[in-house]
Amino acid sequence: MHWKSCRVRSIGWVLGVVVMVFCWTSLAQAVDFLDDESYEKPQADYVVSDPIEPVNRAVFTVNDKFYLWVLEPVATGYSKVLPADIRACIGNFFYNLGEPVRSVNCLLQGRVRDAGLTLGRFVVNSICGVFGLADPAGHEFKMAPVYASFGETLSVWGVGEGFYLVVPLFGSSTVRDFTGTVVDGAAMSSYSPWNDDALTAATAEGAKTVNRTSLHLGEYVEIKSMSFDAYVAIRNGYYQMRSKRFDHSKNEK
């Protein structure tokens, strides 16, 4: 009896230590806003390397004009034609098409559970959600979407991110992440419904962009009006947002 309770207790200890180590490592990866250091110095995962800043700034200006003169007016017109909930469904549809690529990326990163979850989301949403227009997996089955991209896979494999890159008509990225975006795009085009010719593919990509912009109208102008240097504000926002996306400690708990 005594021996048994001893064993139970020691197993409890071992488990406790394992859980503690696990929590510690997962906390160490994340930017913790409750730590004062995260305000004092840039973190290891948040060192902005921007050696081609003059080039980036030039592309930023071009993108800025393109957004304000073309994309936003088109998206505003589009938003007047279609109500917000239908546009949200269209957004779901495009997102759902990316789930298989996300699932493969999860596998490549060793996140087996997330890979299954993402694939499960794809099956549920494609069947019960009418080709992914709705998100019953997220709402009814409590399978929240997870982030995964090839840029992230490369980072897990130890590839450094190169430097900050503002891509024409695309926006903020880094050398590594933009490589990942191109690979993800190529992988997706192998099974997407519009892989027949370049024009159809480009139209689909354009529709996706206009739809996404229509759900975020006014946000860019607002960020610009609130900031002192829009280029730095957007670059900082990009790095912060990405560090949150790459942090999966919440899903693993």
Binding site: F33, L34, E40, F228, Q240
Partner: protein, 211 residues
């Protein structure tokens, strides 16, 4: 007097005293719940925003009303301190007060545009984390077409949780301004920063008057 009567006679008050001490101590040492403190506050903010009378007021009055409510749970001094970073210690008491005033004004003008955008979005509380004297309350701002994760980072002041940062979709407002300000501080120093903020406020003020 029998022995057990004697014992209870002496021990009774002692036990009572211990119980009282124990309970008051546990009441003092227990940290208040950040979500419970923040929930009524956010309800008050959304109620103020939803008030039809608010939108009839002039813009300046609107932003003053909102900032008055927000002050209840936002520590603008702590926010200013963090946005300036390590240089804060080098500022005089007067400069610190001046900066706090300016930065509050900047946020007031930057957010006045939000008042018109408010169309009954609901706040859902998802999670909270406490770490010593700091806490994070995570919420979702639920709209028709999307829901935006918004976190409030706060500090325990006495028995009140006071927020000093807002994190929208993973982007911290304080850290974003910090990077912009550090560049300005490096190039033009503190007087340059004050000048730029004043210019920005004037610019935002002009925009408000236009609409």
């Amino acid at each position: 007097m029998k022995l057990h009567n004697l014992i209870s006679f002496f021990l009774g008050p002692v036990l009572a005293a211990i119980t009282v001490v124990f309970f008051t101590q546990s009441a003092v040492s227990a940290t208040p719940d950040p979500t419970e403190q923040f929930r009524p506050f956010l309800n008050k903010v959304t109620a103020t925003l939803a008030d039809p009378g608010l939108k009839k007021m002039p813009k300046h009055e609107q932003s003053r009303r909102i900032i008055g409510v927000v002050r209840e749970r936002f520590d603008f001094r702590e926010m200013s301190k963090r946005v300036i970073g390590q240089q804060w210690r080098n500022l005089s008491e007067k400069e610190q007060r001046e900066f706090e005033e300016l930065f509050t004004q900047l946020l007031q003008y930057a957010y006045v545009g939000k008042i018109d955008e408010y169309s009954g979005q609901q706040v859902q509380f998802t999670q909270q984390r406490i770490k010593g004297e700091r806490a994070e309350v995570q919420t979702l701002l639920v709209d028709k077409a999307k829901s935006i994760p918004v976190s409030y980072i706060m500090l325990l002041r006495g028995d009140q949780w006071m927020a000093y940062d807002v994190v929208v979709e993973g982007v911290s407002l304080v850290r974003n301004y910090m990077e912009q300000f550090s560049e300005i501080l490096r190039k033009d120093g503190y007087p340059g920063l004050v000048k730029q903020i004043e210019e920005k406020i004037a610019e935002l003020e002009k925009d408000i008057k236009k609409t």
